[in-house]
Symmetry: C2
Subunit: 495 residues, 2 copies
């Protein structure tokens, strides 16, 4: 059947979708969510069909296409394409198999990941897969196969060095910019640490967002290789490298129900480590209320699985379970966090000691994995000697930033609102979620200068009338809205 392209002027963010008029669909016995093959100028793409019952959007004789399909086939409005009914992707049968509680083979897992990466599955189908892996947890064997499949569908960074160090935090804690301190320490210690980070999804800033305040973070694989060869470390955005393209698509479907299929979480992290050939990997699992992992025993179970997978993938994996009950550092939001990092590296009196302590501890763990005795002491020495700060300047410089920027030079939002304690006492708790929400409403991470600065942490004494935090925003409306919200949610509890 030949149909005329109707550019729908819509982007799905991935999934390849066509809309057919019900009359045309009936003629080929095509039903909603069936697959069709679209052919144009010798190129073919398989897409999922939606059916338009009225002829309002897509008339008979036309086929409505989303941007993703137009791009893939290099099509324009009114081009004529050939279509034919196509088979369902093989992976649907494998997803059903997993849903029925059976174990998947290597080929089956590879096919599913291939179909995910190439946008061949509808939201419904991908959800069945995630759901299947959640209710019928993947075995160790399957998780490893999934890790390898995700890694093999992405790009690879080849450094030809040994060891290659990496670290990862499973996230959920505002602030917590340890990578930006650990990377210069380890690199200054002489080890390669090609750190790739994510941008924020639900937090006020990912490491990539914060590093971007100081330097560029989007580079090609080749450029990253050059930076690391030259200065041992980097702090770049993983998204630009396309190391594990299946990942974002999986996360999107997990979000509505906050599903975190453990095997997916592990595979997603470890796949990226495989892609950069890391040999020594430190994983940080923060535990606490309103953090990603709320119970200690869940953290220890996860720790055990990471260690097992590490052994089977022949990597040195160490897992630390850390305090996730409150934000780490004082600044929350890209610019405020970048200031904190520079304060720590430059040994400034205003440096947040919780962030420093955690970074030294973790850098020390890494040194110990590498055979250094008393690793924390070595980390502290590198920090105190100024070598870590010097290394950070080299990295900033190679990533096109200004190495000589001073913390106070980093602009923060000019609109601000200070909060004062209404009574005298001790800070009892700080709500991670509330802090994130306010910082995001204030504009973070898109507005780099937006966020919250915390003057107090849990256990600190406060006097009535003393400032406890300040909200920063880059425009008045956002500040007002953030202030509104902060009236509704308890950020700090004083007892």
């Amino acid at each position: 059947m030949k149909l005329k392209v109707n550019d729908l002027d819509i982007s799905t963010g991935g999934t390849l979708i066509a809309i057919m008029n019900s009359q045309d669909a009936r003629q080929l016995d095509i039903r909603a969510l069936d697959r069709i093959k679209i052919t144009y100028m010798g190129r073919t793409e398989t897409v999922i069909v939606n059916i338009s019952e009225t002829s309002k959007t897509v008339h008979s004789g036309e086929i409505g296409l989303v941007e993703e399909v137009l791009k893939s086939l290099n099509l324009r409005d009114r081009n004529i394409v050939k279509i034919a009914l196509d088979r369902k992707p093989l992976s649907l049968g494998y997803i059903k198999k997993k849903l029925d509680g059976k174990e998947l083979s290597k080929t089956e897992i590879e096919q599913i990941v291939w179909d995910i990466v190439h946008n061949k599955l509808s939201d419904i189908e991908l959800t069945y897969f995630i759901s299947a892996c959640y209710t019928n947890a993947m075995s160790q064997r399957e998780t490893i196969l999934l890790t390898k499949a995700i890694a093999s569908q992405g790009e690879r960074l080849e450094l030809k060095r040994y060891p290659i160090v990496d670290k990862h935090s499973i996230g959920g804690i505002p602030g917590n910019r340890t990578s930006m301190i650990i990377v210069p320490i380890i690199a200054a210690g002489g080890y390669a640490i090609p750190k790739t980070s994510s941008r924020s999804i639900t937090s006020p800033a990912g490491t990539a967002d914060t590093m971007e305040v100081l330097a560029d973070v989007s580079f090609s694989i080749e450029k990253v290789r050059k930076i690391v060869s030259s200065v041992n470390g980097c702090l770049v955005w993983g998204g630009a490298l396309n190391l594990a393209p299946a990942d974002d698509k999986i996360i999107r479907v997990e979000k509505p129900l906050n599903i975190d299929a453990e095997s997916q979480l592990i595979a997603s992290i470890m796949a990226k480590k495989l892609s950069v050939n890391s040999t020594h990997i430190l994983i940080d699992i923060p535990v606490g209320k309103n953090s990603k992992i709320e119970r200690y025993r869940d953290a220890t179970a996860l720790k055990k699985r990471f260690e097992q997978i590490g052994r089977q993938l022949k990597r040195h994996v160490r897992v630390v379970i850390t305090d996730g009950t409150q934000p780490i550092g004082n600044g929350i939001g890209p610019a405020l966090e970048a200031r904190d990092v520079l304060y720590v590296l430059s040994r400034h009196p205003k440096r947040p000691l919780d962030l420093e302590r955690k970074s030294i501890m973790m850098a020390g763990d890494i040194f110990q994995m590498l055979g250094v005795k008393n690793g924390s002491m070595k980390a502290l020495e590198i920090l105190n000697s100024g070598m870590a700060y010097k290394k950070m300047k080299e990295i900033i410089s190679l990533q096109n930033g200004n190495p000589d920027i001073m913390p106070e030079d980093i602009p923060v939002g000019r609109y601000k609102s200070e909060y004062r304690a209404s009574k005298t006492g001790i800070i009892k708790s700080i709500n991670n979620e509330a802090v994130s929400k306010i910082a995001r409403i204030a504009g973070a991470p898109a507005d780099k200068g937006a966020g919250i600065y915390l003057y107090k942490h849990v256990g600190d004494a406060v006097r009535s009338g003393e400032p406890i935090f300040t909200i920063y925003a880059e425009n008045r409306d956002k500040l007002d809205y953030a202030v509104d919200i902060s009236g509704e949610i308890a950020v700090l509890m004083v007892r």
Copy 2:
């Protein structure tokens, strides 16, 4: 935040969706698949947000809305609406609970069904629910609660009679138009049988499609009440009555993986029976290769569950397991099936005996449930006496059809292609799926006259060159395409 409506000119077929520009979304910290409340002229609707990263479709300051939202709020392009972030529906927590293997309460199941009926769940969320019910099968208690919740969300037919008879086939067998023979037999026997049927989803014809060849099938609840009060029976399309609106939405999500969560299947059928207050219900489970239930033991397990649920809902439920290995009747497709039905009712020599036999057996079972001894004999007598045919004419007449139509008067497709046996032997098997596919490609059910006529059934002798089936179509292209397909798939096997 106030935004200008952008009519996207797209229908989702249910789900309420808005597209926001990423800039606006960021300002309210709204992320893809979050909920927003849209307010216009005092009316409010909660919808799911998709985010447009570019400003190509939806500019900053605009909100793109699908037809379903425009209709619900009576909106037009360029109206100004107020939006605010809304909570996630409560049912998401309950779906997660089910996914975690816990049993749901009455309130929780009611809330989920309410959200499904009111289009409050995204495809992803609804899929998690179906998936949860599939992997963590609903208990008997949950299935009953689900049945009642689905029924209570729909319309009700109040007949004020006792008993009220009903029958249902779980489907999957081409032909199989027993309802159109059983209803007149039971009604002629003096019992109320308000039969509602579905249209075809994947088959060449549903009972509603076939009945529509002879009469109207879309009526209001009130009109159905009048028809049944007057002649004891009816044969109408259930879809027009909105008895179980949650149903179609569930089925849509089950289709891509052919998931048939047993509890859903049972609840879907029994909810419709509750809605018409049936007291005596006969369920037909055909078993056979390429039918919905392929294994006998699955059929007996399902039979047991139907009987248990029937007891707990205080209804008389009888389940018959029947032969589902081949089509029932000779004609496949609305017009050809309608002819078969009239042949049986008018005791015509061309009547298909398999369809007649099955209908008499099932009508007999119903009579026996009602206390009649030797029910099949009574059914046969009513059929032979012409009383069933007379009753069918009364029903056709009240449903605005021509009661005096003769089978040969029913028009079938003028384009046809006959198939002849290539060797002499015995028919070994007939492929239900292949028969359905060809009839649909030929145009059924939309083209009433399209379909297949089978001259032979399994076990029949054929001689080489003898006609075995004819494909009918209403236009040449569809016939050609059906003939093409029939070359590729084995419809009949001769041994």
